[in-house]
C-alpha cells in the first residue's frame, strides 16, 4: 500500500510538457477569442437593424395604416436590439472567483438563455400588430384591394411565428438539460 506522501511524489514527479507562451502568441489568441464574440453579437444586432431599415421604407407608403404598421415594426426592431443588449448578456465572472462562484454564474447564464428562448412567443408576438397593419394597409391601399395578398402574407407570418415559437421551446428544453446536467455536477451540500 502506498502512503499519501508516496502518492504525492508520484503525482508531482510525472513527466509533463510545460508550456510557455510568448506575449505575441497570447495577444493573438485573445484577439481571436474577442473577435468571435464581437462577430456573434454583431450578427444578432445587424439582423434586427435590417428589419428596422426595411420597414423604415414603409414610412414612405401612401397608405396611412401601412405607415403606422411600418412605424410599429421599426419600433419593435429597435426594442429588440435594446433587449438583446440589456437582457442577452450576463456579467462575466472574474476568472479568479472561487470554483463555486464560477459554476453558479455559469448556471445563471444558462437560465437566462432558457428564459430568453421561452420569451420568444411574447418577443416575436410584439411584432404582430405592426405586421398586420402593414399587410392590411398594403392590401387595402392597392388600386384594387388585394385581400389575397394580405391573407398570404399573414399566413406566411403565422407559419414563421409558430415555427419560431416551437424552435424556442426546443432551445429552452436544451438549455434546461444543460442546467440539469450542471446541477448534477454540483449537487452536494456546501
Amino acid at each position: 500500500m502506498l502512503d499519501e506522501e508516496q502518492l504525492r511524489a508520484i503525482w508531482r514527479g510525472q513527466t509533463v510538457t510545460a508550456l510557455q507562451m510568448t506575449p505575441q502568441q497570447l495577444r493573438a489568441r485573445a484577439a481571436d477569442f474577442d473577435s468571435a464574440i464581437r462577430r456573434r453579437k454583431l450578427r444578432d444586432r445587424v439582423s434586427f437593424a435590417l428589419v428596422a431599415v426595411i420597414f423604415a421604407f414603409g414610412l414612405l407608403l401612401d397608405n396611412a395604416v401601412a405607415r403606422v404598421g411600418a412605424a410599429l415594426m421599426v419600433l419593435w426592431a429597435l426594442f429588440s436590439i435594446y433587449a438583446l443588449h440589456r437582457f442577452g448578456s450576463v456579467d462575466a465572472t472574474p476568472g479568479d472567483s472561487s470554483a463555486q462562484a464560477c459554476a453558479a454564474n455559469h448556471q445563471r447564464h444558462l437560465e437566462r438563455q432558457r428564459d430568453i428562448a421561452l420569451s420568444w412567443p411574447w418577443g416575436i408576438g410584439l411584432a404582430i400588430p405592426g405586421f398586420v397593419l402593414v399587410v392590411i394597409g398594403l392590401g387595402a391601399g392597392a388600386r384594387v384591394p388585394n385581400w389575397m395578398f394580405s391573407a398570404v402574407m399573414t399566413g406566411v407570418f403565422l407559419f414563421l411565428y409558430i415555427g419560431l415559437v416551437i424552435y424556442g421551446k426546443m432551445l429552452a428544453q436544451r438549455w434546461q438539460r444543460e442546467i440539469d446536467s450542471l446541477r448534477s455536477l454540483r449537487d452536494e451540500p456546501r
Binding site: Q14, G95, S97
Partner: protein, 168 residues
C-alpha cells in the same frame, strides 16, 4: 513599470513557479494529448488575461489555481454537454470497491495511470480538491480556491484520503 509590463511579469512568474502544476492539471482533466495541449493553452490565456485584475487580493498561488481550475471546470462542462461519461462524487467513489492487494501494481507508471483515471471520473469540485491535495496545498488554500467552507474542505480531504487508501 506599466500595467502591461506588470501583467507580463506576473505571467512569467506564475509560469516559472506553477507551469508544471498547470500541465499536470491539464493532464488530469483531459486524457487526449491534443485536447490536453488545447486546454493548457486555454488556461495560459485565461491566466494572462486575469492578471489585469490582480492586485495581490490573495497569494499568487491561489490566484493561479483559481483561474486554472475554473478554466478546466468549464472544459469539463463543455465535454459533459458533448455527452461525456457520467462523473461521480468522492462519496460515490469511496463506496466503489478498490482492487485487491494482489491486483495492485506498485509500478510508478501504473499507479500514475490509475490515479489519473480515478481523478478524471470525479465531478469538477471534487476533482479540484483531490488535485490540490496531491499538489500539497493546505486545507485553507483548498478552501480559498474552491470557495468551500473549512468544514466541507475537511470532510472532502478526509474522503480523498479514504479513496486513495482504498485504491492504492
Amino acid at each position: 513599470m506599466t500595467e502591461a509590463a506588470d501583467e507580463a511579469r506576473w505571467y512569467d512568474n506564475a509560469i516559472a513557479e506553477f507551469g508544471s502544476s498547470l500541465a499536470r492539471l491539464a493532464a488530469a482533466y483531459e486524457f487526449d494529448r491534443a485536447l490536453q495541449q488545447d486546454l493548457l493553452q486555454e488556461i495560459h490565456l485565461a491566466l494572462w488575461r486575469s492578471f489585469a485584475g490582480f492586485r495581490y487580493q490573495c497569494s499568487l498561488r491561489t490566484w493561479v489555481y483559481r483561474v486554472a481550475h475554473n478554466t478546466a471546470a468549464t472544459h469539463v462542462r463543455r465535454q459533459k454537454r458533448a455527452g461525456g461519461s457520467r462523473l461521480v462524487s468522492l462519496e460515490e467513489l469511496e463506496d466503489l470497491p478498490g482492487e485487491s492487494n494482489a491486483e495492485r501494481s506498485l509500478d510508478e507508471s501504473s499507479v500514475l495511470g490509475r490515479l489519473t483515471s480515478l481523478i478524471q471520473r470525479l465531478k469538477p469540485l471534487d476533482r479540484d480538491v483531490m488535485l490540490l491535495y496531491l499538489e500539497g496545498a493546505s486545507a485553507s488554500a483548498i478552501g480559498e480556491v474552491t470557495g468551500l467552507s473549512p468544514a466541507n474542505v475537511a470532510q472532502k480531504i478526509h474522503r480523498t484520503k479514504k479513496v486513495l487508501q482504498r485504491h492504492f
